[in-house]
């Protein structure tokens, strides 16, 4: 908890600094913070901090009910600072490969937390989460490789061809065909993670309903944002290269579809199930349209402000 508090305070300091002094480049161009991603860093730190406060009493109640062993109880508070670190790093990195690595690490860290109760249902949810996100991250990796392939011709192998600031300066000359392919792979890959996007949302309600509540908070508060952030960053490059509304259309289409499908599922769940499971399942169904609504909206508003 102290680690989380320290992270939160430093994130606040960072936010103030970026707002007053403008974008920041540190550690040999490895990290890049501007007004777009600083709010993600701050949010990540805030959610991590509140979760760490909340998880302690939550875990002691669960232990009293006999649903958890003391060893399992100790695991969660220890994990939260690590998660927070991964997500903050993913949000601040300007290398296109880094959010990928950070998100995969964060997924791996949360998988065993989802199956913390060791019930058949929670094991199944964690299994689904692990497999689907593994597939998703592999596709995002291929998208990143394609992006690097296009950028490397212009910037050279040593020129930092995955650095976002470098890519942004040459985005008009990037190969349009390769970049549109890369964007599709990145959208599908991160979309699995970001999970609002409909054909790939399957793991989400299970992982949220069967895992402990603090884990659910971390999943929807942190993972989804970072995934969508990576997509939006890539979209800026694709737009610069293609000069069409290809990426905008894709994001809007998937976003709208997700909102519609999720609304249908929500109505369906209200009719069929009851009690606690209904609340948790429907709240997760409700959490998934928010990133997708953001996805539908962002091409017009968000990306234009970058």
């Amino acid at each position: 908890m102290i680690v989380c508090l320290a992270t939160f305070l430093s994130a606040v300091a960072l936010t103030i600094r970026v707002i007053s002094h403008g974008p920041l480049l540190v550690l040999d161009r490895l990290f890049f913070v501007d007004s777009f991603n600083v709010f993600l860093v701050a949010l990540t730190a805030f959610v991590g901090f509140t979760t760490s406060i909340f998880s302690r009493p939550y875990m002691s109640i669960e232990r009293e009910h006999g649903r958890l062993t003391p060893r399992a109880t100790a695991a969660l508070p220890q994990h939260v600072p690590g998660l927070q670190f991964h997500h903050a790093a993913g949000a601040a990195d300007q290398q296109h490969g880094h959010p990928l690595v950070a998100m995969e690490a964060a997924t791996l860290a949360t998988v065993l937390l989802v199956s913390l109760y060791r019930t058949p249902a929670s094991l199944e949810a964690a299994w689904k989460y692990f497999i689907l996100c593994g597939v998703g991250i592999a596709q995002a990796l291929f998208g990143t490789i394609l992006l690097y392939f296009a950028a490397e011709k212009l910037l050279g192998a040593e020129g930092g061809a995955l650095l976002w600031t470098e890519l942004n300066t040459v985005k008009g000359q990037l190969e349009p065909t390769v970049l549109s392919l890369a964007f599709v792979f990145l959208l599908v890959g991160y979309g699995t993670k970001q999970s609002g996007l409909v054909p790939l949302h399957n793991w989400l309600p299970d992982a949220h309903a069967e895992g402990p509540t603090p884990v659910s908070a971390v999943l929807s508060g942190l993972l989804l944002n970072v995934a969508l952030y990576a997509v939006v960053r890539c979209k800026v490059l694709v737009d610069g290269s293609l000069q069409t509304s290809f990426a905008k259309g894709l994001m809007m289409g998937f976003g709208m579809l997700s909102v519609v499908v999720v609304a249908a599922f929500l109505l369906h769940a209200r009719r069929t199930s009851s009690g606690c499971s209904l609340i948790r399942r429907s709240s997760t169904w409700a959490s998934s349209p928010s990133p997708s609504a953001w996805a539908a909206r962002s091409p017009t508003s968000r990306a234009s402000c970058i």
Binding site: V101, A105, P120, A121, A125, L141, Y148
Partner: protein, 59 residues
């Protein structure tokens, strides 16, 4: 020498930090998969995935 090490793929390999990060992720992923198998076997006394097909939206 630079040529021979570079000629391995179309993209000449990703930046070293990304390569190492992905390698670490795959390694830890495999480890967790192993832990998972132990948990599943503990729970169901088998590794048959038909036990893991119960969670669906109720009809």
């Amino acid at each position: 020498m630079a040529c021979s090490s570079r000629a391995t793929s179309a993209t000449y390999g990703m930046p070293m930090v990304v390569e190492l990060g992905i390698a670490l992720d795959v390694l830890v992923g495999m480890l967790i998969l192993g832990v998972f198998f132990f948990q599943i076997r503990e729970q169901f006394d088998s590794l048959d995935l038909k036990h893991l097909e119960q969670l669906k939206e109720e009809k």
